[in-house]
């Protein structure tokens, strides 16, 4: 008999609604699956079966009724405040706003996920629990900071997960781990109990293995319907500079091929886009560092500590400059979205590097991942617009390649339409187990 976690989120929900699958049996099977596979994936840092069973008993008969999900360590639960990838409980013990939306739809929180420490990295390497692992190749980085979200969904521990995205932290791990990751529009959900609540960049993001599941989960998160449209008919803008520069050639070619399936693609320019990387680096660093309580820096990994310290070195004038660039980028995006429905480029500049040597091989030479990854992602956080990473193929190394699309504020549905279109003929990448 097929394990229920080999089903997608929508299939699980349908099976429960029809009476073909019992919610308690699904939860037990999920917890057993976590126990069996997590020692390899290290995607999960906490389970709480009694709380999960009570949540199931109290679950409303919504569209996600009885479906187990996992959540990032940036979201509070009534029995566990968020730790944000540290050993300390940093948030209140409350059902955080984004998780509440999913619970109100009937979902059951089965576990809390591993993540990159304090959200300050794109690899997943820095974690007091050790790094989560890439579900396609356990020796490689899953991406971050929502490393456990991508690993848990790609590794079939659960069919859906809730992560977050302050500088690409949903889209980047989704791209490296071969799953869909969708960052919603900034402020589209209640932020209480969420570590991103004081950020002007952070937004929750959903992880799923296919576009139908991503749509179901996003609808629940946004508490509104997202009716499907014709993804193939979308007008797609390709922004070459800087997002298609210095890429692994196979990544570029695979993403180009995927975009070639759309009927209307055209090149557009965003004049200030190249400055979005330093502007985003300043904003991300300063905002994340400002939220770290006193004393936490003494316990974190040396690389996290260095990023925290570096953020303290920015002169105030630089923040003003960053915000002027942010304003320019937002205006340029508004203009772009009068011409096209979505804009597109590769999610990550190169496939996931090995955990043992986390360096990207780019045409310009070897590079630490955070800078090039941030370049691809942070413009969406500066602007506040939604974005998605969609698996579009495999590199010759066997690692996944993701295509990123951004849409106007509140237009998550067109990103899902594009995902429907792109995934129509595709097989998902194989999980490592």
């Amino acid at each position: 008999m097929t394990h229920p976690q080999e089903l997608g989120l929508a299939a699980q929900a349908r099976a429960i609604a029809r009476g073909d699958l019992d919610g308690s049996e699904l939860l037990d099977a999920t917890l057993e699956r976590i126990e069996e596979r997590n020692p390899q994936l290290n995607a999960i840092i906490a389970t709480f079966p009694a709380h999960s069973r009570q949540m199931l008993a109290d679950a409303p008969r919504g569209p996600l009724y009885g479906v187990p999900i996992t959540v990032k360590d940036m979201f509070g639960l009534p029995w566990r405040g968020f730790h944000n990838g540290t050993r300390r409980e940093l948030g209140p013990r409350v059902l955080s706003g984004p998780v509440r939306r999913l619970v109100e739809a009937g979902a059951v929180v089965a576990a809390v996920e591993n993540q990159h420490e304090l959200g300050m990295g794109t690899t997943g390497l820095a974690s007091p629990h050790g790094p989560a692992r890439n579900p396609v190749n356990l020796e490689h980085c899953p991406g971050g900071s929502s490393s456990g979200s991508a690993s848990a969904v790609g590794g079939h521990l659960v069919a859906g997960a809730l992560g977050s995205d302050s500088g690409g932290s949903t889209r980047l791990p989704a791209g490296w781990s071969g799953v869909l990751g969708l960052k919603v529009t900034y402020g589209a959900v209640p932020y209480d109990g969420y570590s991103g609540a004081n950020s002007s960049l952070s937004a929750p993001g959903v992880f799923a293995r296919d576009s139908a599941d991503a749509r179901l989960l996003t609808q629940a998160l946004l508490a509104r319907g997202l009716p499907a449209g014709d993804g193939g008919a979308l007008r797609v803008g390709i922004v070459r500079t800087p997002f298609w520069e210095d890429l692994d050639p196979e990544v570029a070619a695979t993403c180009e091929a995927a975009l070639g399936t759309f009927a209307d693609i055209r090149e557009i320019a965003l004049k200030s886009a190249a400055l979005s990387t330093p502007a985003g680096a300043v904003r991300v660093g300063v905002e994340l560092a400002a939220l770290v309580p006193d004393g936490v820096i003494d316990d974190v990994a040396p690389t996290t500590r260095a990023l925290f310290q570096f953020a303290a070195l920015h002169p105030a004038l630089r923040l003003i400059r960053a915000d002027r660039v942010r304003a320019a980028v937002r205006r340029e995006l508004v203009a772009a979205f009068t011409e096209v429905d979505v804009i597109a480029w590769p999610t990550n500049p190169a496939p996931a590097p090995p955990l043992s040597a986390p360096v990207l091989a780019l045409p310009s030479g070897a590079a630490l991942p955070d800078g090039p990854n941030l370049r691809q992602a942070v413009i969406a956080n500066l602007a506040g617009v939604p974005g998605i990473s969609i698996p579009v193929g495999l590199h010759s190394s066997g690692l996944p390649i993701g295509l990123q699309l951004l849409a106007p504020w509140g237009h998550e549905t067109v990103l899902l339409d594009a995902a429907d279109h792109l995934s129509a003929d595709d097989e998902p990448p194989p999980a490592s187990r």
């Binding site: 402020g187 502007a279 260095a306 070195l313 002027r324 660039v325 304003a327 800078g371 504020w409």
Partner: protein
């Protein structure tokens, strides 16, 4: 000690943040990685970049 290290140590001390020699080595790497981009940002003519006084990332600019 490099000029960057001297400045970094002094600024962090002024902010009441600890900074070891190991920290300085990693900070130097971070500065090397982010430096060119930050230099480009520092070089912009702010007068050419209009502010958005009611910037709200939840919606498009008015």
């Amino acid at each position: 000690m490099t000029e960057f290290a001297v400045v970094a140590r002094a600024m962090l001390a002024d902010a009441g943040l600890p900074c070891t020699s190991d920290d300085l080595q990693l900070l130097t790497v971070v500065a090397q990685v982010l430096g060119p981009g930050l230099a480009a940002l520092d070089a912009i003519d702010v007068r050419l970049f209009a502010p958005e006084h009611d910037l709200d990332p939840a919606r498009a600019p008015r």
